[in-house]
Symmetry: none
Subunit: 204 residues, 4 copies
DNA sequence: CATGAATGAGAGTTCATTCAT
DNA sequence: GATGAATGAACTCTCATTCAT
């Protein structure tokens, strides 16, 4: 079914990761057992061990897959000819959508993972993601300042601040639940800090 | 050991919760088993089941215990004769200390709990805590505005914003790690949003 | 079934060891799994783990049980009023019986155990048994020399030599197989080294 | 790599056996899995099954290889012009070296094998080896008696006795451990039984 | 002949939960 | 009420063995 032809089974590996992703989305991280993944994939118990050692390893690979796409999208949109304010606003609206979605997201599983697994295992995938996002946002704000759309003295600080607010929203969405209005208010707060007023109607 | 009066179970209950708290601080939430608690308490396996059904229930009771004290402290400090800015600043420095502490805190366990257990079980302890904190902070900011120390149009919005930043910092402290400087910057950011500049030296 | 009455379950422990002994006699050491013992005992999977951690531990306890009786029998027989030659001869005939038995003996399992388990685990049960046997035999030979029945310059060396021969016979019985005649010849050899001739008829 | 002629399988067979030997020396018998051998040989899992069915079969072939060389060496040394006492003494010193070596020997694996595998499988390699050794030693002792160096009535019995002592030492070396002095004493014991005194200095 | 991915039986181990005392 | 021995379901992980290529 998977062929072997020298390329090992990159295909099957990918298939397992994609299937495992669904399982993680459904059940979070910790409750997922190797057995769950085996069953979801429709492969044999031992077969899975041919590719991965444990759920932690699988999960980290899933996250890697996931993150590669993520900030590329954001990063790419910067190059388009739009004002920084437009881009940032677009980005925040995208984040809002994700925040309110709650299903079909790895978010829950990711947090679980980072609370459960030994610090050693954690690697720094999450930190790298965070730092990378900060860097991109810093660039964006810098552009906005040059273009005259943003007012900001410390771009990096501002970028980091925005990320912390987003993190706060993300975790709150998972734990205490948040409403669309709450997110909107935070987005306006952020935009206002950059000297941009946002009208009622523009927040999807 | 526990007498035979009606209050005996109350005492033992409390004893179990206090002992369990230590266990949760040590090991987080999920890794804690009924066995762990039984052993820490030095009681019998079956005995624990007379009081609690599972670790989730125990943990929720521990959180209830915990939260009763927490915002009272903050709430009380408002009544003292100090400027709102002083009080807020004090509060934020307190939060900073806790953020950087990482041990001896239930924080990790709380997050774990909210990610692992079924939504049904979660109750809304965390939400109530959050809302209560927002309310208190709103009052404080209101006071500051009246006193002329703070500049702020939407006190409730600002209060909520501050809480989201703190949440963001808290979760980041647990997952990607944060430094003292990063927290300082965020505190200055918050104070500045309220129109208060903070000098280098004042952030312990 | 086993009562608890404060004495833990010494009874059950003993029951398990005795049942396990039979299993080891049947299957040797390595092939025996915790499951085998569980089934032989008619107890639950987890139940066994309440008493023992693994087959090695169980086996060592079985050996301890076994050895306590063993050299007491020999040791006791020395005090009786019989010549040293008689006692030694009796002992050797006893050994012969055991050598030829092959079933109902732990011998095979013991060797397996000492070859398989990590040196750490081995403890020195076997060595202690060997040394203790040497000591007793040395005393016996010493008595024989005093009584004038044995001719021997180095009692300890002779004692050790006899033990090596017995070990050689034991292992050969297990591996290449030995006949009654072969054992008889060795017994005569030993007795002759001590200056005692043994007639054809006296070897059961 | 192995050509395609009929002799290819012979070569590969030999290669596997030689590689497997090293594995057995390292890990004993039972712990060795087909997987271990496959990995050590750098061949495919299925490939090994084309040549051998299981580890027992492989091990028996390894032993066959081993034994062919062994007693030839001893046997050959008899033909040289040296007294029987010299040859025997040389042989015993050689044995001593091997006894104390403990590594780089198949000894451990051999015993393990004979304790673990079904009697059916054992074949009689070990017995043949033993008998062959006895025969050679009998001849040697016979020579010694003719030459006048040895005093011995029953050469075959004596030969067998020596072998049992050696077996006892061998197994003891593996299980309880023996010192150089202990072996020396046994060697002197043997030589003395043949009427030959050995000086302190001659036992390397 | 050779390969190595895939299978699946089975061993070890842990705990939530029960229940006779 | 309290005890803790006993249960058994569930999970992890390893290999001998097969089979399509």
């Amino acid at each position: 079914m998977w062929g072997s032809m020298g390329e090992k089974s990159v295909q099957k590996r990918k298939y397992i990761l994609e299937t495992a992703r669904k399982v993680f989305v459904d059940k979070g991280f910790k409750k997922v057992t190797m057995k769950d993944i085996v069953e979801a994939c429709g492969i044999s118990r031992g077969g899975l061990y041919l590719y991965f050692d444990d759920t932690s390893q699988i999960f980290m690979e899933v996250m890697k897959m996931e993150s590669q796409e993520a900030d590329d999208v954001f990063s790419d949109s910067i190059t388009e000819d739009a004002t920084a304010a437009d881009i940032l606003f677009l980005f925040l609206r995208e984040q809002k959508k994700e925040l309110l979605r709650r299903n079909d997201t790895l978010t829950q599983a990711i947090y679980e993972f980072y609370f459960q697994s030994e610090p050693v295992k954690k690697g720094n995938v999450l930190k790298r993601q965070f730092d990378s996002a900060v860097k991109i946002m810093e660039r964006l704000i810098g552009m906005g300042v040059e273009q005259g759309g943003f007012a900001c003295e410390d771009c990096r600080g501002m970028a980091r601040h925005i990320m912390f607010v987003l993190e706060g929203l993300k975790i709150s969405a998972q734990t205490i639940g948040i409403t669309s209005e709450v997110v909107d208010r935070e987005i306006r707060f952020i935009m206002k800090s950059l000297g941009v007023e946002v009208g009622e109607e523009s927040l999807g």
